[in-house]
């Protein structure tokens, strides 16, 4: 009884894991989730109210009709409808009286749900659900098969679980091996792109930067992009600025950019290229959610952008937009590109008077206390550079950093500088830019990321690393100024849950890279790596060229096929029905079969046809009597019959044709 409960528990949890694999996609309707969860809870509590299931089957049929009706009305996708059907069917089976047949059905429909989850979701959670499903399904089905056998006492559960545990390990290893080796030759006629995973995109680049609100992004640990930097800085924590957008027009509440859009191309140059550029290969992940490209400060060139689809990658174009911003043409959830940045901040390129005027523009109705404050903060400093640095330091030291903001206010800048005296990076950057402008120093706000955490030779940048700072034009040079206190420039403290989420995100990246985006080119690379390793040690007796290996593998496959064919024929040679079929075939060719094409009444009376008669007699004995055919006997009888029939003229066949002559 206890083992029965365990078996059902495992079965129900298997179905739960399979449903979870679909549900994490967020595409399964809420009502379906509710129905399934209720059924699962009832089953786990041992309540299975459906005995014969006729009514529930009718209801189920009705629901399926409605679901597919919704498909016809284009309210639901076909895949989602199939998933809903599988969920409802599983739910119905879960609360039905448990039998061996029900268990088989639950397992098979769970497999359908897993396949549905694979289509709907690309999240790492799917891997977790698949793993749980595989483990539980093997255990539940194994226990069920043993429990259904009527003979003898049932074994202790532990005894059965032992080989099943071996089965679980072998299944998982085998699944991974087959996954890696299965050739990725896709017809690609019905590809469906999975979503960005739970939580959606989080970067939040917008066309404008509006002050006020809260800084929730700062506490978000999701990795939004990763970058491989050459030359490698080698540090664990990168102290660098990733430039995204620049804003130079401020209306008192919101920053915006006044630049124009350029034409699309494969490459965008933002400044003079030269030696000592830092090369970056940047991988924008689905969580990034923006078309703006980022690069280390100061980017001078963007190019080689590729958009990665499920089965292929295509080159995509980019274009300059706004103030030295570069964007992708078209949206894509996974993009890689190369960027080059100048480490040394160069001389300011010539700017037009209009551009300079924009960078000095102050909002109308600027609080008069702000210029006065700028004067106070710059007191004693000589020269624009010194003034800028002094104001930057003053803001860093006199104002506090906080993410808890009161929401929208009428003048957020004055509120930050004179009332709350606390804010986040956008407040600090805005304050610094406006204060500098009051001192006639051109300045603009830059939005991007700060920092980077090293992982496997790359730097991971999180949504919480989003940052804002200031670029000022000082003495014909671009000066980067950051008024935000240094300890608050990167992701905010995220606690244990955040730490766990961060680890999860790191795993998610590997999952996307190694599994979801695994492709034929990866397989080619793997083969080449193997070939290279073999070529490295040609003297080794075990090393063999891959071509030879392929030839050997093909030969083994051919031999196995031949063996299977021979074994199949061998097995058939002891089957009396097969003997009858072969004899019938031989006799039909000779026109000697009896009436209705049966062996009974076959015309085999000639003396020479003794072996045929013997074959027919043995066929009858083996099929209807009590003397089964001995191994190989059927084949021998057929051979003898064929020999006997060879050369004999069919009794019904016309005689040899005589030549005819026409006059």
């Amino acid at each position: 009884m206890r083992s029965e409960r365990l078996r059902l528990l495992l079965r129900d949890l298997t179905a739960g894991a399979a449903f979870g694999a679909m549900a994490i996609s967020g595409q399964v309707p809420l009502w379906t989730m509710a129905v399934f969860l209720v059924a699962l809870l009832l089953a786990l509590a041992g309540r299975r109210p459906l005995s014969d299931g006729k009514l529930s089957a009718i209801l189920l049929l009705l629901a399926v009709v409605l679901v597919y009706g919704a498909v016809l009305l284009e309210e639901l996708g076909l895949v989602v409808a199939a998933c809903i059907t599988a969920s409802l069917l599983t739910a119905q089976r879960l609360v039905s009286r448990p039998t061996g047949r029900t268990t088989d059905q639950v397992q098979l429909v769970s497999l359908l749900m897993i396949a549905g989850g694979a289509v709907l979701s690309a999240d790492l959670l799917f891997a977790l659900c698949l793993f749980v499903y595989a483990v539980l399904a093997v255990l539940a089905q194994g226990l069920s098969v043993v429990a259904e056998v009527p003979g003898g006492p049932l074994p202790p559960t532990g005894r059965v679980l032992r080989p099943l545990a071996v089965g679980v390990v072998l299944s998982l290893v085998g699944a991974l091996t087959l996954f890696v080796l299965f050739p990725r030759l896709s017809w690609n006629v019905a590809a469906r792109r999975a979503g960005a995973s739970l939580g959606g995109a989080t970067t939040g680049f917008a066309d404008g930067l509006r002050l006020g609100g809260t800084g929730l992004l700062k506490s978000n640990p999701r990795v939004v992009f990763r970058a491989r930097i050459d030359p490698d800085p080698g540090t664990e924590e990168l102290d660098a600025y990733w430039v995204g957008r620049r804003f130079d027009v401020f209306d008192g509440v919101q920053w915006s950019s006044a630049g124009t859009r350029g034409g699309p191309s494969r490459q965008v140059l933002l400044g003079p290229t030269g030696p000592n550029l830092v090369r970056q290969e940047i991988d924008l992940l689905p969580a990034y959610g923006s078309r703006t490209l980022v690069a280390l400060d100061t980017p001078v060139r963007f190019g080689d952008a590729e958009s990665h689809q499920t089965t292929f990658s295509i080159r995509t174009e980019i274009y300059p937009s706004g103030d030295r911003e570069v964007r992708l043409v078209g949206a894509s959830e996974h993009v890689t590109y190369r960027a080059f940045s100048a480490v040394e901040r160069g001389r300011l390129p010539s700017v037009s008077p209009a551009e300079r005027a924009r960078r000095l523009q102050l909002p109308q109705g600027l609080d008069p206390r702000i210029p006065a404050l700028a004067e106070v903060l710059a007191e004693g400093a000589v020269g624009d550079r010194a003034i800028a640095r002094q104001i930057e330091r003053a803001l860093q030291s006199r104002y506090a950093y906080t993410l808890e903001l009161p929401g929208r206010v009428k003048d957020p800048l004055a509120d930050f500088l004179f009332d709350r005296r606390a804010g986040h990076c956008e407040d600090f950057a805005t304050a610094l830019a406006v204060l500098l402008r009051t001192r006639q120093i051109p300045a603009r706000v830059v939005v991007g990321f700060h920092g980077g955490e090293r992982a496997a030779g790359e730097y991971l940048v999180r949504a919480g690393d989003a940052h804002a700072w200031v670029e000022a034009a000082v003495d014909d040079y671009v000066l980067r100024l950051d008024a935000t206190p240094p300890q608050h420039r990167s992701a905010a403290g995220i606690g244990i849950a955040g730490w766990l989420l961060a680890r999860w995100e790191a795993l998610q990246i590997r999952w996307l890279d190694r599994v979801v985006e695994y492709s034929l080119s990866d397989q080619n690379r793997m083969v080449q790596r193997v070939r290279w390793k073999m070529g490295e040690n040609p003297a080794s007796p075990t090393s063999r060229r891959p071509d030879e290996g392929v030839a050997v593998a093909l030969a083994v496959l051919a031999a196995a096929f031949l063996l299977a064919v021979l074994v199949g024929r061998r097995a058939a040679s002891n089957d009396p029905a097969e003997l009858g079929r072969r004899l019938s075939r031989l006799l039909r060719r000779g026109g000697r079969l009896g009436p209705k094409g049966w062996l009974d009444g076959a015309r085999v009376d000639e003396v020479k046809l003794g072996p045929v008669r013997e074959g027919i007699a043995r066929y009858r004995e083996a099929r209807f009597g009590r003397r089964p055919l001995l191994p190989g006997e059927g084949r021998r009888l057929v051979r003898q019959a064929r020999r006997a029939l060879r050369g004999l003229v069919s009794p019904s066949a016309p005689g040899p044709r005589r030549p005819t002559f026409r006059a």
């Binding site: 088989d104 497999l111 429990a147 080989p163 072998l170 085998g174 699944a175 017809w187 499920t310 009590r626």
Partner: protein, 319 residues
């Protein structure tokens, strides 16, 4: 064909014999359809997660093969045939299963025989080191010897998707005795074709009550000596008893009759023989085909007659 060539041929055939048979269960068929579906879906969409699911499904098929092989590979078996199975009467086939090491689950056992294959014994668990007897109920519809060649051990473990079978060669013979039928009260007439009977009464040296004692003559059976009286009188005396009324009957069988008719005849003779033997008669059997059982009584003799009747009309070992 020389013996050497025959041996070589046998070895060659044994080499090519399929070591295992694999049958797909209904659930297994659905599973395979799903696997093909997922495979087509993976090829169609290039979705790597579908490839992962496909890998798991194929891997489960392989694992199923491995675990089921572990179950049937080392099973040792011996056949426990029933003593006197009768045609048309259910009887127990039994097999003793043993596993030197490891353990096996969800086993089923059957004879590799077209008429007995439907009798399946099942066993949930076979632990190592001990013999477990598995029984199945079988029914043979006709009398006669059944040549048994092998026993098939199958398992659906671990997933119930496939049934893997292993045939263990185990030659043997199951002799099915004629089926039971009510015996006629009167012996059949000589012209009935069902069998002729010879009736004889015993002489004065029968097995009845003591009639007299007399001197033993030369050549007489020494077992008839009454030793106590002989010792008292100093001469060898022999016992003479009254003749017994029990008949000595030799049943005559015409085993050249067609198979169906011969079966009926054998069953009727078997019923008659059992009835007569139960009444104390000495019953024998003779046939034109050379079957001969001398008259006798007792349970063993009954079996001898039934066995002879079971083999009547079948070439090979006589009863």
């Amino acid at each position: 064909m020389s013996a050497r060539r025959e041996r070589l041929l046998r070895a060659w055939r044994r080499f090519w014999r399929p070591p295992r048979r694999l049958r797909t269960t209904p659930a297994g068929r659905t599973y395979l359809v799903l696997t093909v579906g997922v495979g087509l879906g993976a090829l169609n969409t290039g979705n790597n997660l579908l490839y992962l699911v496909l890998g798991l499904q194929l891997s489960l098929v392989v694992v199923s093969g491995i675990l089921s092989e572990l179950c049937v590979r080392r099973v040792q078996i011996r056949r426990l045939l029933p003593g006197s199975p009768r045609a048309r009467t259910p009887f127990h086939l039994a097999w003793g299963l043993r596993l030197p090491r490891g353990q096996a689950f969800a086993l089923s056992v059957r004879e590799v025989h077209p008429l007995l294959g439907s009798a399946v014994g099942q066993l949930a668990w076979l632990p190592s080191g001990e013999e477990v007897v598995v029984r199945a109920v079988a029914t043979a519809h006709r009398r006669g010897p059944m040549q048994l060649h092998a026993v098939r051990v199958s398992t659906r473990f671990p997933f119930g998707l496939f049934e893997k079978s292993r045939d263990l060669e185990l030659p043997g013979e199951l002799l099915v005795l004629p089926g039971r039928m009510p015996a006629r009260a009167e012996p059949p007439s000589p012209t009935s074709g069902l069998g002729l009977e010879q009736r004889s009464l015993r002489g004065p040296d029968g097995g009845g009550d003591l009639a007299q004692l007399r001197e033993l003559r030369d050549g007489e059976d020494a077992r008839r000596i009454h030793w106590r009286k002989s010792a008292q009188l100093g001469t060898l005396l022999r016992v003479e008893r009254d003749a017994q009324p029990q008949p000595r009957i030799v049943l005559q069988l015409d085993d050249r009759a067609p198979a169906e008719a011969l079966d009926v005849t054998c069953e009727e003779l078997a019923a008659r023989a059992e009835l007569l033997l139960a009444r104390g008669a000495e019953v024998g059997l003779e046939s034109a085909g050379g079957v001969s059982v001398k008259p006798g009584t007792g349970a063993f003799h009954t079996q001898a007659i039934l066995r002879a009747l079971a083999r009547a009309g079948h070439p090979g070992k006589a009863g």
